[in-house]
């Protein structure tokens, strides 16, 4: 056995510190409400509805990210062109911008005072206070996480495999579908998990765009303001539990291949 030096002990104690820092407040919150409170909260239609809305809108945002983000991630991973870094920084912008600013920015173009808002209005699409609005916001904040995860995934796949496929006569399109994508599916899944996780936790931008219908974080905020800590905690616990089990399931789905390879 290797002797445990100072480096080991420093890493060890830092690790403990980080874990305590993350877990202590969460465990405190999760254990605060009584079982009876939790059961009662679960009977509340508004709670179920808001948690469902949260999952549904986050999934929709990830779906949109998948559709439009995948080709972009591929292009960014495979090609080099002038201004690529500039485009990458634009994609990262939603990560940097404070959340309420995202909401305000989206409301700014969604109103009738803007040509885009006017156009949407004529089409009958409403952003303010609508599920469409929530999905718009979540896609905005979640997209960079999907693109970045997938880009890294594509970069780790050797272009030679694609070249072989192309030299054997497969089209670009068929190469992507039959070679690249199957190899990258785990990165796709990780990207979707990241995007979905980011979306489900968003509050600041959503509350600016849509207070009603209420996603779970907004409901937790409303409960906190109207009734206090005691009645907002059980909702928070349910949201955390539901999300945790969902993401755990997805993570496990992404794992086995890793072991096989």
């Amino acid at each position: 056995m290797v002797k445990k030096g100072p480096f080991y002990w420093i890493s060890f104690s830092c690790g403990i510190m980080v874990l305590t820092f993350i877990l202590l407040p969460l465990v405190e919150m999760l254990t605060a409400p009584s079982g009876a409170m939790l059961r009662e909260t679960l009977k509340d239609k508004n709670v179920i509805h808001s948690i469902w809305l949260s999952i549904y809108t986050a999934a929709a945002a990830s779906g949109i990210a998948f559709l439009v983000g995948t080709p972009l991630a591929y292009v960014l991973a495979r090609t080099h062109f002038r201004g690529k870094h500039f485009i990458e920084s634009i994609i990262d912008l939603p990560i940097v911008i404070p959340h309420p600013v995202v909401g305000i920015a989206i409301l700014g173009v969604a109103g009738k005072n803007h040509w885009l808002g006017q156009f949407l209005y004529e089409l009958g699409i409403r952003i303010m206070g609508s599920t469409t609005g929530i999905i718009t916001v979540l896609t905005f904040v979640g997209m960079p996480f999907y693109i970045n995860a997938l880009k890294a995934g594509f970069e780790s796949i050797s272009p030679r495999l694609e070249n072989v496929s192309r030299s054997l006569g497969a089209s670009m399109w068929s190469t992507f579908i039959r070679i690249t994508f199957p190899l990258a599916w785990r990165s796709v899944l990780v990207g979707l998990i990241m995007c979905c996780a980011r979306s489900i936790s968003e509050f600041g931008a959503v509350v600016v765009v849509a207070y009603h219908p209420m996603i779970a974080p907004v409901l937790i905020y409303e409960r906190f303001e109207a009734y206090g800590l005691k009645y907002s905690q059980p909702v928070a616990v349910w949201l955390v539990l539901v999300c945790l089990s969902l993401f755990l399931a997805l993570r496990i789905l992404a794992l086995p291949r890793k072991k096989a390879s």
Binding site: D44, N46, I104, L107, G108, A110, G111, K112, N113, H114, G117, R126, I127, M128, G129, S130, V207, V208, A210, Y211, H212, P213, Y221, E222, R223, F224, E225, A226, Y227, G228, L229, K230, Y231
Partner: protein, 329 residues
């Protein structure tokens, strides 16, 4: 003999000197340090102006303000136990309901306001709206109007009260329900001030706001008759006919809020970390030449002098504030 006199005199002088030395700090002490204040969103603009003036007068004091819904401001004290010196509410009843007696002893009413219907040039029917037809316009399909959440913001339930009173004042039975039917839940926001940006970006046509907010943000507004605008306490008995159901102490429980004139309340939190400086600010706030003057300029008519409901409450005020209030219910 002579030495004892000298001794006595010098002892006397010594004591005098010590006493004088000790009294210097208290006599000339400048309030200093930070003063934390939670207040209603609708007080943001006048308090910002007051902060500047007050900090110019007492450079050692840093007034740190946090604006939110009044109810939330109270919750931050009662539930989150955030350290706080002063709490000012858009409805003095919030202080009575959530802070007295555990977190505060008294409640000074210092200003009034009234509700107006705000709009912009680009709002639908902006050219024809006036005090006589506003409720007909709010009934029209396609007109997007809203108010803040009655469960979180006094401005929200007050907007609903105005609609109820309008039904009575214009003798138009069923008006309230007709209006609410044309206001989907999506148009309800946590705080009334948020509606201003929805108006300005064209996401909303009309919004219920306090007169002060309309003045401070330069919005166009319809001024309503005193009988329904909740701004004149002479009509308190008429206002009290309006009753709005808001959420109670826990989900599923409700309580009734009865109409009354819009009256702002301010209190000092019992375990305020910086009482001395906080009282100095309250002194400035309640001064007719200080804070009250600013409130008047910003569309929030103050009570001059400010009011407390009972003699007992007046006696509980810090001595420096007692001269600035009158007992009037």
């Amino acid at each position: 003999m002579g030495t004892t006199i000298v001794k006595r005199v010098s002892a006397f002088l010594f004591i005098l000197g010590v006493a004088a030395f000790l009294s210097i700090p208290s006599a000339f002490a400048e309030p200093k340090g930070k003063v934390v204040m939670f207040h209603a969103g609708s007080l943001s603009m006048p308090f910002e102006a007051m902060e500047k003036a007050f900090e110019a007068k007492y450079p050692g004091v840093d007034l740190q303000r946090e604006a939110s819904g009044s109810q939330k401001a109270a919750r931050k004290v009662s539930d989150l136990h955030k350290p706080c010196d002063i709490m000012a509410s858009a409805d003095y009843k919030v202080i009575d309901k959530l802070l007295i007696p555990k977190y505060a002893d008294w409640n000074i009413r210092f200003a009034t306001n009234q509700l107006v219907l705000c709009y912009t040039d680009k709002s639908k029917f902006a050219k024809e709206v006036n005090a006589g037809n506003w409720y007909k316009i709010l009934e029209r399909k396609g007109v997007v109007w809203g108010h803040s959440d009655p469960n979180l913001d006094p401005c929200g339930y007050r907007a609903l009260m105005v609609l109820q009173l309008a039904e009575k004042y214009y003798k138009n039975p069923g008006l309230y329900d007709k209006l609410i039917a044309n206001r989907p839940l999506e148009n309800v926001r946590p705080k009334s001030v948020e509606l201003v940006s929805l108006l300005q970006t064209g996401n909303m046509d009309y919004a219920w706001e306090y007169l002060s907010v309309a003045v401070q943000h330069g919005l166009k507004y319809v001024k309503l008759p005193d009988q329904i605008n909740l701004g004149n306490y002479k009509y308190d008995s008429f206002y009290s006919q309006a009753v709005v159901k808001v959420t109670g102490k826990k989900p599923g429980e409700f309580m009734d809020m009865k109409g009354g004139s819009v009256t702002y309340g301010v209190t000092l939190i019992k375990d305020a970390p910086n009482k001395e400086a906080a009282i100095a600010f309250l002194e400035y706030l309640l001064d007719p030449q200080g804070g009250l003057k600013i409130l008047k300029e910003q569309g929030q008519p103050p009570f001059v002098p400010c009011r407390v409901p009972t003699d007992k409450m007046k006696s509980e005020l810090p001595v420096k504030l007692q001269g600035l209030v009158e007992v009037k219910n």
